[in-house]
Point group: C2
Chain length 235, copies 2
């Protein structure tokens, strides 16, 4: 059955972590708000009853509706029989995906530290301070964490030779950081060989290669999570 | 087998969501850093190899080590055979637990909008703005969400008559909000009858009642997530 992904249509954001995995795993899906528009997304989300999504992205698969990026990815992994078969390993993959989601939220807060509903221009002073701490403390702490975890199985992927949703997400994360913080990421180059390895290897996955060459792939822009504001990057 | 919980010993924080569920489900556990101190926690976490926790809380159960509060709770639920038996329902519980974790992070950011490593006193201006937006926009949005979901099965618990980890977490969330924002929560009283219902019913769960009456229960204080700073509450 074809899945339906609901996410904002105009920027990669959190939805792109889901798209990339579906493309890597060659799962049929309809990208609903890109077909029907952002208003259709708002309408669909508000019409849902019972225990419902708090925010996009969410996935509809027949009677199942599931939100929260790490949970969507775990659901798809199990649906496609792409889990490792080991409970502890599968738990570690979800855990890493939640660590990635936490970092993604911190990236968003570099330009929206005070209020997600206000414009960046209305919170620039706090953003400047937040981005400084992010560059100096938070991001290195996360990158060291992912690098250590990647090294455990020798690379190139988190589980070694077999890719998982964690790898497509780490790829997207590194691409987003390169877009948002080009000077910082240039300075860090060479410090995280495993992360650089996963970033350069994921595009070779057949489904990913086809996707990246297609018009379905959205470029980063100045909406959503990964935005380039020169004053928030390394000086 | 006895589980080991690792979390900071001096405030309830995120660890309390795990403790409450273990106490409700009457699961044997050792609260390691309360037995051995915060240094032992730092040492244990740094000594872990392979795919490891990014931050406390984490749970050790024999060979399994699992971090991230929603994942720990899901793991414990499945270990104890306390799931609903329906895939879609169990997914919804994890999803709600992740929504709660997101809100908990926003509560933390009301007093630490700029840098988790800096003191509150060094980010008070941004905190004041952040807390205003939290009180006016973000918190009501989350509370309406949880209220709507709770109403789906008629209460008092998320799934109706049977409690789950979502209910113990919603209880802790409401208690924390009452501590941090007493004037705001007083103003909101009566607006969220289902949330008030779950908050008043969870303490009747036998294991929870015993826990709340014990010395194991940690009071809120001015560390961790839920802190009362008068200037961040409703004026």
């Amino acid at each position: 059955m074809t899945c339906q992904l609901w996410y904002w249509p105009d920027f990669p954001g959190r939805g792109e972590f889901v798209r990339l995995y579906m493309e890597a795993a060659e799962i049929d899906y309809e990208d609903m708000a890109r077909l029907e528009g952002a208003d259709a997304l708002v309408e669909d989300m508000h019409a849902r009853q019972g225990i419902r999504p708090f925010a996009p992205p969410y996935l509809v698969d027949g009677d199942v509706c599931v939100a929260q990026t790490p949970l969507i990815l775990t659901y798809l992994q199990d649906r496609e029989g792409l889990g490792s078969g080991e409970l502890e390993t599968d738990l570690q993959l979800v855990q890493l995906q939640m660590d990635i989601a936490d970092l993604v939220e911190e990236v968003f807060r570099t330009h929206h530290p005070v209020a997600p509903g206000l414009h960046y221009a209305d919170q620039m002073d706090a953003a400047y301070e937040m981005a400084h701490d992010f560059r100096e403390n938070r991001l290195p702490k996360y990158l060291i964490h992912f690098e250590n975890c990647l090294s455990a199985n020798g690379g190139p992927f988190m589980l070694g030779q077999q890719w998982s949703h964690v790898d497509t997400s780490l790829f997207q994360l590194m691409e987003g950081l390169d877009h948002a913080f080009p000077r910082l990421m240039e300075r860090l180059q060479g410090n995280f060989p495993y992360l650089e390895g996963v970033q350069s290897t994921v595009p070779d996955i057949e489904g990913v290669a086809a996707y990246l060459a297609s018009e379905r792939r959205l470029d980063f822009n100045e909406q959503g999570i990964f935005r380039h504001y020169e004053e928030l990057d390394q000086q």
